[in-house]
Amino acid sequence: MNIVTCIKQVPDTSEVKIDRETNTLIREGVPSIINPFDLNAIEEGLLLRERFGGSVTVISMGPPQVETALREALSLGVDRAVLLCDRAFAGSDTLATSYTLAVGIKKIDFDLILCGKQAIDGDTAQVGPEIAEWLDIPHLTYVSHLNEVSPAAITVSRLLEGGYEQASASLPALLTVVKELNEPRLPSYRASLRAKIQPVTVWGAADLDLDAGRIGIQGSPTKVTRSFVPELERQGQFLAGSPEEQAKALIAALQSARIIHGCS
């Protein structure tokens, strides 16, 4: 089974601060990591390769420094790494990004595409499903378990807010995955040695069959006009009375806010 995993290099947002003047992320000096959900995608690709054979290719779009993220993926054991890198891709929104990735993926033989559910910097969760649409293949999102895998089809459990949903798709298909799916492995010694010397395939705009109007800033209908940290007003409410009375009042308040369901 040939698997393509899409990854994004992101700032480690557990460490990041906001610049109060521009209201944007301060990226300088912040370590870059592979988007955590993409690690689950890579892990599932490797597990499927252990079960069925085949290969795992990791692909990313970004500036040259994304190569370090791809080498990290190689040190986990993926077979091949591809970087889509060109000045023309700069300024892409999710639509232009997903278009470019889809064109790149078309050059690779695949049965299954795996993506993390969303990136921890953008948080849109759009790129995975958009790639599937560009490639005209089915997609299943928020996958928390692979129930059945065969060469022709896949059945999964999707982790939704209210519970789990079973869903199936024929292959080739694209899945976006949640962290409950698996426990990502650590780099292995042998793969780490290979990762130091193995070439990363780099494709620029010239190497891909792209429509120039759909890439980079030109291909990005989404425009960010302002980003800001919302002002949170603290609304406090004092509950009075005995502990029992306070508890009753609290339950009633939580029920009317539909935070808990109720019997009385």
């Binding site: 426990e183 492995r185 650590l186 780099p187 292995s188 010694y189 042998r190 780490s192 040695l193």
Partner: protein, 384 residues
């Protein structure tokens, strides 16, 4: 201090460190509390290729020798020496096969160890044969194509969990010390069962279990070296593995030192962090110096072994005795520096102190180690 590790050794150290900090650390307190064998964690370690660091490449290992073995043991011990000993105990059970195994035996057992699929154990200790390891009572009587094992072993690390055991037993009582042999016994062999799991002071995630042999028939192909070579197998094995205990002790000491320094930086009393007080500084300085000295000694001995040095018994004993005494002192001091907090299970140092004690006891008590060192001094010729 820079020990001029090769890039490969640094990579091994880095992966072991990530394993310890990212995967072992969150599970440590629960493993200690429940005395639970960390099988799942060992599976994670297996995938990093590190289970085979000391196994030669032709058997699927990384060929890093005892030095790489010590690096891995030290890094894991910095976080949890109980988990480290599950890895190191396999080393102890496998070294006899590495040193004395036939090609068939090595090809049969070493690849599984390298892949992390096979857990090993070393079975020497008996109720009446501790420091007096020569006083073996377990017998292995030749019967045609088999040896029939009868007897019990006590306090075997990885006992019950291991798949492959190197067992020391008497094949010819009349020959005394020269009548003891080493055999490889696989779990599941009829007549081979286990005693109860011990409830220990420390290294509680490690499984310490007695072995029971009741007319257990082991194929004669499983004899290691020759009949009568058992105690030589033991001696040469322990010479190689003792730096590993030293590495475990160094790791425990370093982990405790790290915790104590971190705490002392933040704990404020008399309106300043306690690390500003000379009393604390001197304790920490001594802890750091002793740990570094232990590390330097362990690394030197491991490198000497890997370079093929002969006659490493004295040095190996020194590495073990010194590092383990350091670990006991440093962990005790760490609890002291952290005061009441150090005494609480909320912090890991009380566990590190409980873990450290065994390093002064097993693989030859520190009193036996001193005997060995003195015996070498007596044997050595006057140079001057």
């Amino acid at each position: 201090m820079n020990y001029f590790l090769t890039p490969e050794q640094e990579l091994i150290q880095q992966i072991a460190r990530r394993f310890a900090r990212e995967r072992v650390a969150p599970a440590s307190a629960a493993l200690d509390e429940k005395s639970e064998f960390p099988r799942q964690l060992l599976g994670v370690l297996a995938k990093t290729d590190l289970c085979g660091v000391y196994i030669p490449e032709e058997y699927g290992g990384l060929g890093g020798g005892m030095f790489a073995f010590c690096l891995v043991v030290e890094e894991i011990s910095r976080v949890d020496s109980g988990v480290a000993i599950c890895f190191a105990g396999t080393g102890l059970g496998t070294i006899p096969i590495l040193l004395f195994g036939t090609e068939e035996q090595k090809s049969k057992y070493l690849p599984g160890v390298a892949a992390g699929k096979t857990i090993g154990a070393f079975a020497l200790t008996e109720a009446n044969a501790g420091s007096d390891s020569f006083a073996q009572e377990t017998t292995a009587e030749k019967d045609g194509d088999y040896y029939v094992l009868n007897g019990t072993k006590q306090w075997i690390t990885n006992g019950g969990e291991a798949d492959v055991y190197t067992v020391i037993a008497v094949t010819n009582r009349a020959k005394g010390a020269r009548g003891v042999s080493a055999l490889i016994v696989e779990k599941g062999t009829p007549g081979f069962s286990f005693g109860k799991k011990e409830n220990k002071m420390g290294i509680r995630s490690s499984s310490t279990v007695g072995l029971v042999f009741n007319n257990c028939r082991v194929p004669k192909e499983n004899l290691l070296a020759r009949e009568g070579m058992g105690l030589i197998v033991v001696g040469r094995t322990l010479d190689q593995s003792r730096p590993g205990v030293g590495a475990q002790a160094v790791g425990i000491a370093q982990g405790a030192l790290d915790q104590a320094v971190k705490f002392a930086r933040h704990r404020v009393q008399f309106r300043q962090p306690i690390i500003q007080f000379q009393a604390i500084q001197h304790i920490l300085a001594d802890m750091a110096t002793q740990t570094e000295a232990a590390r330097a000694l362990v690394y030197s001995v491991a490198r000497a072994i890997d370079s093929g040095a002969k006659g490493v018994s004295k040095a190996a004993a020194m590495a073990k005795v010194f590092a383990s005494d350091v670990a006991m002192k440093v962990t005790t001091d760490a609890v002291q520096v952290m005061g009441g907090a150090g005494y609480m299970k909320d912090y890991p140092v009380e566990r590190m102190m409980r873990d450290a004690k065994i390093t002064q006891i097993y693989e030859g008590t520190n009193q036996i180690q001193r005997n060995i060192i003195a015996a070498e001094l007596i044997k050595e010729r006057d140079e001057w």
